[in-house]
Amino acid sequence: MEPFPKFLASRLARQQQTAEAHPDADALTAFAENRLKPNERKPLLAHLAICADCREVLSLIAPDFATAPTTARPSFQWWNLRWAAALAAACLIAVVVIHRPEPVYEARVDVKVQRPNATAPEPMPTPVQRTGPVQPTSPVQPTSPVVLPKRKKFVASPVIVAAKPVAPSAQPVVLVPPDVANVQPPTDRIQTGQLIPVAPPPPPKPQSNSAALQALADNQQYSAAFRARTVRALPRLGSNLPVRQTEWKIGEAPGTLTSSEDGGSTLKTAHVDDRTNLYALSVSGFDIWAGGENGALFHSTDNGLHWSQVTVPVTDAITAIHTNGTIIRLTIKSGDWWSSDGGRTWATK
C-alpha cells in the first residue's frame, strides 16, 4: 500500500463534517444490503465520505459475507470463463492448423515434347491437336488425338504424359502445366490442370535382323560423319520456356534436319522445307538457324516448332553457320556473309 502523506490525511479530515441531516435507517439498510439503485447509492456514498457517524453505523450493520445473500457473489459466473473460452478457441485453431490435410496430387508428371509428325498435313503441325472442348470425364478414343489450334507466339505445345497414371490400365493423360499456362496459351478450351486423355504411344514395329543391321550401320555412318555438328539446344537464361534438352543434327538422312529429345536414341525429322537439302546448322538456345542448297536459310526462334525462310543474296549452298546471338556468319563457297540485324541485311567481306 502506498504511504499516505499526513498532510493529505489532514486535508481529508478537514472535509469531514458533523452533518445535521443523516440518511434514514431505510437507506443505510438498503445500502448495506446492496439493494440501492446506482442513482441512490451515489449521494449516500458522498454523505458517507464526509460523515464518520454514518460510516460507523454502516460498519456496525455491515453483514458478513456468509450471512449476506444479497452481497455474496454467486459462486459461478459465466464471465469467469472468459479466459477459458479464449484458451479453448486458441487450442481449436491450433488443432485445425496442425491437422490441416495436405493437398493430394494425383500423379507426378514428366514433360515430354513430341516433335511434329512427318505425315501431318499441316506445314508445322503440333503433336497434339484439339478438336473441341475436352471434358475431363469424356472418354477419348485412342485413334482420335487431341488437336490444339495453331499458335502464334506460343512456343511449345508440350504433351505432358503422366508418369504414374492413376490406374495402371487407364490411358495416359495430358496435363497442361501452370508454367505453360503462364505463357498465355489459348486457354479458351483447355484449362490449367485439366486432364486430357491421349492415345498411348504406338508399339515399336518389329524389324528383321538384316533391316536392323542396316539401320545400325547407317546410324553409325552418319553419326561418325556428323557428330561434330550435333548441337544440343539449351534454354537461354531468363527464358520463360519450359526446360528441355533437344539435340539437333544435320544429315542423319542426307540433307535433312533431325532432333532428339532423349540424347540421340530417338530421332525425329524436322520438316523445314522438304524440297531443300540442309547442310549447315547453328543452335543458340531455342534460336536455330539451318542452311542448305541454293542459299536457302531457315530460322526458328521456338526450338524448331515454326520456321521462317530468310532471304540471303546468294545462290550457292550454305555449308556452315555461326552465330553468337547478334551476329550471324554464313559460310558459302564464294565467301562468308555477315548479318548483324537478325538476317534482314547481309554483307560480305
Binding site: 500500500m1 502506498e2 499516505f4 502523506p5 499526513k6 498532510f7 493529505l8 490525511a9 489532514s10 486535508r11 481529508l12 479530515a13 472535509q15 469531514q16 443523516h22 434514514d24 435507517a25 431505510d26 437507506a27 443505510l28 439498510t29 438498503a30 448495506a32 444490503e33 446492496n34 439493494r35 440501492l36 451515489k42 449521494p43 456514498l45 458522498a46 458517507l48 465520505a49 464526509i50 464518520a52 457517524d53 460510516r55 460507523e56 453505523v57 454502516l58 460498519s59 456496525l60 450493520i61 455491515a62 453483514p63 458478513d64 459475507f65 449476506a68 444479497t70 452481497t71
Partner: protein
Amino acid sequence: MLTSSVANQPSERECARLYSESEAASFSLSLEEFANLFKDTQPDRLRSVRLKDFVLARACAHGHTGAWEFFITHYREKLYLAAIAITHDEVRGGELADSLWADLYSARTSKLNSFLGRGSLEGWLKTILAQEFVNRIRKERKLVPFDDALETLAQSEEPDPLLDQRALASATDFALAALSAEDRFLLAAYYLDERTLSEIGRMLGTHESTISRRLDKITNVLRRQIIAGLCKTGVPKRAAEEMLDIDVRDLAINVREKLAQERRA
C-alpha cells in the same frame, strides 16, 4: 383529483395478488385489513419493496395483534442479539434493545411507521440500533472533563504547518474533490477511521483485495494530480515531489520536549 386518487389505488385483483405475495395471512391479516392499510399506496411502490416485511411493519404500527405476535416471535430475540453484538456488552446491549423496543411499541408514534421496506426489516432494526448506539457514544464524548477539554483546545490552537503552504493545500483539496464519492469514502474509512480492508470490504460488499487495489490506485492518482496542480502554480516538478515526500509531521519530533530539554540544559 378524485380520478388520480382512484387511479393510484390498487385494484381488487392487484390487491389480492399483493396480499398473497406478502404472506399477510401468516400473521392473521385479512384481505380487507390489507386493503385498508394500503388503500393510499401506489401499487408500483409496493412492488419495489420487500413486501412481507413492509406489510408486517405497517400492520404492527397500526396495532394489529396478530402482526405483533408474529413480530415478537420472529424478531425480539434477533433484536437483543443484534444490540449485544453492536455494543459488545450484554447489559448495554439489553438497555439499547429495550429502549428501541419501547419506541417500536409506542402506540401513536411507532418507529415502525418509518420503515419503508427498501431493505429487510431485520437489517433496518439493526440500523436503528446502530444509529442509537452511535448517538449515545457521541453524547458521551461530548461530556469530557474540563481539563481534557482545555488540553484539546490548546492542541487545536497549534499552528498548522501547512497553513503556509497554500499551494499544496489548494492542490490537495482540488485533487480530493475530483475523486468520486466512493473513492473519498474509501480514503476516509481507511486513513481516517483506520478500518481494516476486510471491514471496508464488508461495508461495500466487495472483497478486501479489491479495496486494496482501489486504494493503491486512488493514492497514485491523488499524488499525480497534486503534483500536476502544484506545477500549474509554478512549483517545479521536483520540488512538488519533495513537498509530497517530506512532511514535517512525519519526522516524529516532539518540539515541546526538545524545547524543555534545551531550557534545562
